[in-house]
Amino acid sequence: MSENNIKMNGNGTHKSAGTPKIGFYVCHCGHNIASQVDVEDVQKFAAGLPGVTISRDYKYMCSDPGQELIQKDIKELGLNRIVVASCSPLLHEHTFRKAAEKAGLNPYFFHMVNIRENVSWVHDNRESATKKAKDLTRAAIQRVFFHKPLEKKSVPINPDVLIVGGGIAGITAALTIANAGKHVYLVEREPTIGGHMAMFDKTFPTLDCAACILTPKMSSVKAHPNITLWTYSEVEKVEGFVGNYKVQVKRKPRYVIEELCVGCMECIDACIYKEAKYPDEFNQKLSKRKPIYIPFPQATPQVVLFDPETCIDFKSHRCKKTCIESCDRKAIDLKQVPEYKDINVGTVILSTGFKTYNAELSPQYGYGKYPNVYTSLEIERLVNASGPTSGEIVTRDGIKPKSVGIIHCVGSRDQKAHKWCSKVCCMYSLKLAHLIKEHTDAEVYNFYIDMRTPGKGYEEFYDKLMTEGVHFVRGRVAEVSDWALVPEEENKLTIRVEDTMVGMVRRIPVDMVVLAVGLEPREDAGDMRRLFNISCSNEGWFLERHPKLAPVNTFTDGIFIAGACQGPKDIPDSVAQAGAAAAEVLSLISAGSIELEPNTAFITEDNCSGCKSCIPICPYTAISYNEGTKKAYINEALCKGCGTCVAACPSGSITQNLFDDEEIFSEIDGLLKFAGIELEETEAEHA
């Protein structure tokens, strides 16, 4: 073995602490690895590699006894390098480093081989999978020779928190964190917080009034001393990293001074438009508003705003400005410009929510073509006591419907739209069926593919609806049309559907059609994700670090996600997730600091030729040039460890910790070591 050591140590520059004594451990992971990889074979193979003092296999290396095995060996055999072949380092690198550290070894003398995600789970030929596992093992064992003891890097956490999106998730997270005594900046794009929930009348399955449970929370946000609420605002810029993000927020002009306005709405009455003329976004354009307006009575903050697109003064400067005269607090300022706020925060929660599917994209349902086809969100406003009709359900042509058809899965579970199940539509359709029945006593038909009601009290709610005389037709609707085949269909919308329960095509004439539109990511989810340096799933939802173990974390430390921006979710789930995100944030804040990978780069001055090629390459301006010494210098505090400069340095004078040249070269070498020889062997074998 000493001979081998000489060989390994012989190639040049490395300066490892003493003769390597490597402990190698290969994990069965129950059957997860052992079923595809001959674990004992890998163990024996590793035992014969240079530098390996001990090689073992074990059922679950990440379990306590597995870790203790390593610790015992470190102490008893004096191991100074550890290699574990098991799952992905993204999952358990941390665990094993900790274990090594507990036994007194510098944690960076550890390396992990991924033979589960990269081998056993993706290959089905045991022989070639085992071979691959061996190659990876050999590479890792060669690599750890060159590992160096490193110092841990930790950064302090600024206790201030940014929350983006003021729907129910953002509100919950903000209140939880603020109640813990930490300062929150809550940024909302719309003029009011409340999100989608503020539009709903009742919530399923308890049928409690959405406003009654939401508006008190909205006012507590406004009143909370630890919350800075910026509505009608957007995040413009994000810089920095966990613990220390520098964020710029743009406050769009309302043309009303927020601090002065008390929400008396005199100005709205005084507007020279006597009638409201412009579609009201909050009411899904089912009613009209003036150019100066407040989105809804309980809007938070209670501050009016101008719509410069429709206000005469913005268009022609020739308005009498009766609104300004009417305001005795002088709160209106038509010259307002956007204001930019720069803040420092340690952590961020994104709770930017969802948008509903555009039903016009499924033309067979006639949305946009027939006035009496509505989206579910429009019906939410219609049944709402504070909505455009004060809770009265009337069609666009003013009649009280005698029959209503609710079409499920519009834009969901549809190869032509979105493949996913939007999770909330079955339940809200049931709720709307109940409310429509209650308000109009109409015949209500639900057209569904499958009824999905998992959740506390959900199935019971469905049962209750069955006894209320609501009709259920199982089948995907083919078409909604106004084309009458029989006299009963005249002046009605006819829903054509294959009733799969009775196995025939039915035509059901109704006065009103409700489309249960699905949930989809917001259009600008892609921009948001770039801004905050996180990932999105293929569908465009924000990607969690781990679907089960880290559902509110992202791959970027210090950035968390909550609510429907991560995927379709109902209110209870959004609130739960918001609580989880708040807990993650608070745990970082109370720890006070976070450990970062010490994978930063440094320059060996003696080798630096002062060519400056590394300087423009660094995206963080971490590299500067010292005119005195004529050498480049890396500011470690700014370096984030991408290693791009290392690859670019022509004199090889930059080293990246943990991803050093000699570490990677030895890994390459280890992967391929016997490639040539193997070829010869094959030839010999078959000669």
């Binding site: 993204l90 999952l91 089905d124 691959k132 990932s535 791959f555 963080y620 290693g643 990246q656 391929l672």
Partner: protein
């Protein structure tokens, strides 16, 4: 396997460099989703595709790799803002050089694979393995050995050695 013959039995070795944030995560996702792909690729994890030094690629070929695959985040998505662009530039230069060296285009591949594209990991790997398989072994170590062998018998070599001895 009854009729084993070297050609059809040839399994290329491909070294891959995957960035930690996108492609490595995507490969993990492929694993978690139990997607099955060819076992010929050996992945080296780096923090960013910008860390890939052209020397790594050349070294991999020189040590016997039949192909090299680099996986990074999509343009604009690099965790470190623009490491992937830096990689792209080097990649283009290196491609030209490899062409001059007679190393086929398909042997070096750069792919942008985001963290959610487990499926793409599978497709890219399978496709590349097929292409490299069709090309046959690159076997640079073997060539180098042969060249050394030949040089031994090259008369000029002896003359030079003599000259050296006289000098």
């Amino acid at each position: 396997m009854p009729e084993k013959n070297i050609k059809s039995n040839y399994e290329p070795k491909i070294v891959a460099f995957f960035c930690n944030w996108c492609t490595y995560t995507a490969a993990d996702l492929a694993g978690v989703s139990r997607l099955k792909y060819a076992p010929n690729v050996r992945v080296i994890r780096i923090m960013c595709s910008g860390r890939v030094d052209p020397q790594f690629i050349l070294q991999a070929f020189a040590s016997g790799a039949d192909g090299v695959l680099i996986g990074g985040c999509h343009p604009g998505d690099c965790h470190y803002a623009e490491g992937n662009y830096k990689m792209l530039r080097r990649f283009r230069l290196l491609k030209r050089m490899l062409k001059d060296l007679g190393i086929a285009d398909e042997r070096l591949r750069l792919e942008w694979i985001s963290a959610s594209e487990g499926e793409k990991v599978k497709l890219v790997i399978n496709e590349m393995v097929e292409q490299v398989k069709a090309l046959g072994p690159l076997a640079i170590p073997q060539h180098l050995k042969n060249i050394n062998e030949e040089l031994k018998h090259f008369p000029g070599e002896e003359i030079r050695e003599e000259e050296m001895a006289h000098a």
